[in-house]
Symmetry: C2
Subunit: 219 residues, 2 copies
Amino acid sequence: MSLNVDDPAPGTDTVVIVPSTSADAPTRQRRRGEDLESALLLAVWEEFTDVGFYDLTFEAVARRAGTSRAVLYRRWPGKIELVAAAARYALAKQRGPEPEPTGSLREDLVARLRWANRTDVRSMIAATTHVGAYLAAEGVTFAEVRTMMMPTSSSATFSPIDAAIARGEVDPAHVTPRLASLAFDLFRHEVLLNAQPLTERAISEIVDEIVVPLLTRKE
Amino acid sequence: MSLNVDDPAPGTDTVVIVPSTSADAPTRQRRRGEDLESALLLAVWEEFTDVGFYDLTFEAVARRAGTSRAVLYRRWPGKIELVAAAARYALAKQRGPEPEPTGSLREDLVARLRWANRTDVRSMIAATTHVGAYLAAEGVTFAEVRTMMMPTSSSATFSPIDAAIARGEVDPAHVTPRLASLAFDLFRHEVLLNAQPLTERAISEIVDEIVVPLLTRKE
DNA sequence: CTCGTAAGATACAGACTGTATCCTAGGAGC
DNA sequence: GCTCCTAGGATACAGTCTGTATCTTACGAG
């Protein structure tokens, strides 16, 4: 079942949810449970994508979701938790297929950065980072934040570096944790500094000038 | 002349500036011109350092500076401009000497990252990035923001990479703009993600695992 | 049907924003 | 010394938002 939520005029006191899988379902005026939570998180995410972390307000989210602020505060004590939950929700929703293995380290990395370069993934990174910057002041590490917001899938994800090691292209002795995350670190750095998607040139600079030479060096 | 500003109780309508270079200077009740602007920017910077970009308010800055919000608004239309000006001010004030050249690429890079790791420089980076993220949405590039906030000194600053090229340790063909800024990009990335100073280990990882191997490779 | 719960509406006090207006402290000029 | 001008500082205003509390009643379970 997908939701078609009519955006109510401000001040309207009913929200009409029209279930799209059954034209005969009774019309509901109040949402509950999972339906409500999905609508809330969608509203948060849309608002976050529209205005960013700083300008996002409970008031605006409530308005967008057609609910009252109390409903939001009952679930999430503050903006951090709100955005974190929305990011988690968005991630779960957009679990599109990752790129297929190409057999080439360079192509694998490029494909993955292109995939990450889609708008929703960039928003996800921004959300993670904003939340992380806050929690870092409380002694929470970035790795912990990332785990909190993006639970590691139990399915083994494909790693371009592991594949290249298996093909004998990369010496595992070179692969430190920092080098393993370097491509994505540089990608994130770009995301945080620019509102626009990375150019193809930026992607190939990251891969061809930095990551691949480091990974494939012989000494 | 340095300023000793007594923090007035809220509601107090005079601010006493005691010039420390002359005990006989007349007591002034209102600040003007450069004295005032310095006091304002100092207050902004302290507030920014204390509470960060998000929680910084004109109200709190005005209170801390012992002035009215109108005085701030007369100079800076919004938070971005306010913080940008304060960062510029802080940079000008803390122009401490950069590390001396060591004769070794690695040591030069490490020394510079250690220098950058001081609290005030990290605050500067944070301020630049926050402002930049905002202006990026308006099409301003990060490079432009950085130029705006940290005017390039006309004095030629020492570059570890240039020195290493001169010593024959680095092939200039390898030195792309992205590689030239890599050490500092990775440093900034760490600063943005963590509230604590970088550990010595993180610094040496950046330099020894990534930057130096890339710069000094032969192929 | 009844009952329990939480959705949604609304009120409250406080903080902050952006703007406008007023009084008068400072400094320049004579 | 004086006068004049300007902007510092105080304050008011209307609006938005926050965090919290309270009330009514729509839903869903039994």
